[in-house]
Subunit: 306 residues, 4 copies
């Protein structure tokens, strides 16, 4: 399992049309772009994919279309995060039928759960999904951080095979690494700025949003970290931070990162610059800035030893 | 409008069976219990109704069944809170077709929105619902508190007719009261412990969870507050606080209130003691405590001048 | 005790000079202004008094000077909030020697305490102060909200005689009122916007910042609330909310309230417009707005039946 | 400067006696223990030193005594964190007179500051201290996280020479590393669990609490990280996480870390097991656990290639 799930697994953006419907062609373009960039898997219906803003119909269409487009070239992971476990299980069934390899879920995110309730929720969920399950720690959105103790207990469920941590707190990540004694348990990190250091310290890889745009850069960084090649790590890290700085902080929205990834992807011809309510794409003036910054980044990227 | 929406509008609990399906008979029992208690309306699919834990099918069934059971005796308000605006609009359409009088929505609660994004979301939503819309401020669950300024701007939309505030912050409530200059705009408060004081200071009434259990008590408290009858206010307030203390704090869960209302309702024969995942009903030992406490409360209630 | 501590006890602003030293004349002016306005006591070294920004020398000077200027006309309450209990006790001793009637303390506010640690801290403190002690719940600043249970346990200490709640959460306030069964225990509220309603529901009065500026208004509101005179309550409440809106929200700082009170007080001739680091007074442009708004407020106030 | 401030600079615990007075002998013992362990500097009056719980007299005594005991063997850094800038400056003067090399300050931590106010505070402070100043980001205690932008602006002050980040958020740390373009600016990390990875990615070292107990382990880990010696990093990291797990999580207090370090230090004979109010040392039963765990750790340590 841990062999299958490692490396760069981008949280795929969801391409949508101006009428809020799924952009089927966009799905094909993005899938090919990612696979050509060397990614080790594709994760749909995560935070970056605006999953919980999409209608169920769109989510179902996305699962089927992505599976079709991937054609088995890389593993497909499907987000089934929802406030209703019944709807999560419906999505999990469809993921299974569509040929996905795993499902991924944050805690339910409306009520304030305790750790015991969180444990029971995930245990119940893992009992009922045919596909293996990744835990997804995302405290800024879900209002709960899975404790190390809860994660350890959950790691003993045979159908729970890994955890994606988007907390940005690497003390927590190191504590998970130390405490979970299952060799075949994958620990992925969300934020791309710390992917290299978590891989250096034993992490399995990154679910890095920027890999939607420049998959090769993140794949090469993963490889450099695995190889302890600090010359390349240093060069790539500077580039990754530059991307974060120039594309994800425009406009100072809480969702500048999401707007930036979608906006830049649209400039790269991967999709339209449309977002699902309640988020809106960048304004024209902000897109000008993204456009200028993107040009600079691409000029730089061309000089890198990728 | 403000004439129609005032007084006690309980956030109805959702009765479910052990197989997690909707308990149709329970709906009928609860609806009659509430209307016989004198309530001024019924609000389904709110926080107390565990709305966002229910499958869409259950939500749709609940809307139809409640409308049928009410038979037009009191206004029906339907919660359409969701992270996907398309799903909210689907629920709003069904509410309209079923004869409801208004819809109610919290902000979408996964992403961190800014006030401008919150404003645009509600404005868009109000443009697209046939029924009038109540805003629902619930910062502890949604991670955002609607600013007074945003509420004032939204109150200028002709299809937005009121706000339910569950923040428990009465400085905020008073600021809304002062700042919103529309006579026909209703301001409801959530927590029952402060319903009397907000009505004394000009509020429209309460969406009080305890009214699921003892609707008459809350209706009489509302009337006492309207009449400035402090003798009765004092007696009823003591009773209301006793209910909150004895039924809502057992077990010290984050959701002790929800477990307490559902558990007590089951003891009153209104529904089964079942909750939708991720919440679970009280354990048998906790239910013993609820049972004992409930007996004491009912003995007391019988002595009150209701 | 409860007879002594009730009504309006303003959290006195601390007048300071441009060299950050205490403005002794200012102390005299403010004390007289407050007493002439009919206040029931004066509370120095609270949040509004910028206590924890002052040097110990300034705090000691303020205690002595205020005591001297009051000349026994009203009770003096002294804030002894500090992160070091030894320094709190030093201030408490000086308060006692200077003739104060009570001391007031928030929890220590750097470390994250648990409820048991909070209980022990206050119990220890109350054991060591010669003057009676008021608890001061101020969660937005101290990162901890005293639980109702902790407050109830602390209310059993003979030297703890009351609590000031600045949480703005009146569910909490009502729970305290219900749960603390000591007749001679005073419950004060901080925010002036909700002073009337808490008094209507049994509160002891308000530690209201605006009373620095217009003590008579808040005193009359307290009396109206006691008398259940809703005609006057309605008029005064509108005025109080207008003050909050026009003076406390300029500039949208986290500390706009503090800057507004100090700025308006300086325009009333009570002190210089100086604040203790890290806070700074309003900028000239912001002060123009305060000045205009203050004129409007004073014109209105003259028409009120005070 | 950056040459002077790098490596392991432990946040020294403050030894106190049962009468809460400073334990002068303890200071000497701890200072020698640290220097013999090879540390690159000593930081007193930080969070681990319980600074803000100490009386001013104790803080002053500690500065003088530590300087005396160090005898110039390593640089002394002095925490001047306070809510009053005047008191911070008093401590800074004494630090200068005592021969310290730098001062360190968190933001003032009672009021909620904005980023501009935070910038102005630090700029003012740096203008007035004779010793160079380290910024200290500690959002969990101070309620404010210094933005990258604010840190960049502050790094342009000639008297601000570094930053200690205790946020545990390495996305933030990497953003600082990328954005601050001053070669002689030191970036230290607080939590020992992530010291290695931040040094691998370019950080200057660690202000690691566990180094009070086992200075050599952290010094050797720093050296291994500098040398990219992953065999040793892996061994030491496991040991460091074991220390954190066995000593810092006993009792599940918010301050278990602080109680654990002090408790273990007392078992090592470095000080008494006394803490400054409001914190209390571990209970006897908890100390038994610390004792057993400590024995295991020391047995392990003896086998390491230190």
């Amino acid at each position: 399992m841990a062999e299958k799930f490692k490396g760069i697994i981008p949280p795929m953006i969801t391409p949508i049309l101006s009428n809020s419907k799924l952009d089927y062609d966009g799905v094909g373009k993005i899938v090919n772009h990612l696979i050509e960039g060397g990614v080790n898997g594709i994760f749909i219906l995560g935070t970056t994919g605006e999953s919980i803003s999409l209608s169920y119909e769109s989510r179902r269409n996305l699962i089927k279309e992505t599976a079709t487009r991937i054609e088995g070239r890389v593993p497909l992971l499907v987000g089934i995060t929802d406030t209703s476990i019944e709807e999560s299980l419906n999505l999990a069934s469809l993921a299974y039928e569509s040929g996905a390899e795993a499902v991924v879920a944050t805690p339910p995110f409306y009520f304030h759960l305790g750790q015991e309730e969180l444990f029971e929720y995930y245990w119940d969920l893992a009992n009922q999904t045919k596909l293996p399950l990744f835990l997804y720690n995302m405290p800024s959105m879900t209002k709960i951080s899975m404790s190390v103790e809860t994660a350890v207990r959950l790691s003993q469920h045979p159908n729970i095979i890994g955890l994606k941590d988007s907390s940005a707190n690497t003390v927590y990540f190191q504590a998970l690494k130390y405490s979970i004694n299952r060799k075949d348990f994958s620990l992925f990190v969300g934020p791309e700025e710390i992917m290299a250091e978590t891989v250096l310290m034993g992490g399995s890889g990154g679910v890095t949003g920027g890999a939607n745009l420049f998959p090769k850069l993140y794949v090469k960084m993963y490889e450099a970290a695995l190889a302890h090649d600090f010359d390349r790590i240093k060069i790539f890290q500077k580039q990754i931070l530059e991307i974060a700085t120039l594309l994800y902080t425009v406009g100072k929205y809480n969702s500048s990162y999401l707007k930036g990834v979608k906006g830049a992807a649209s400039l790269l011809g991967l999709c339209e610059n449309q977002m699902a309510s309640p988020l809106k794409p960048f304004l024209p003036k902000e897109m000008e800035k993204i456009s200028t910054n993107l040009e600079g980044i691409m000029a730089n990227l061309n000089k890198l030893p990728l």
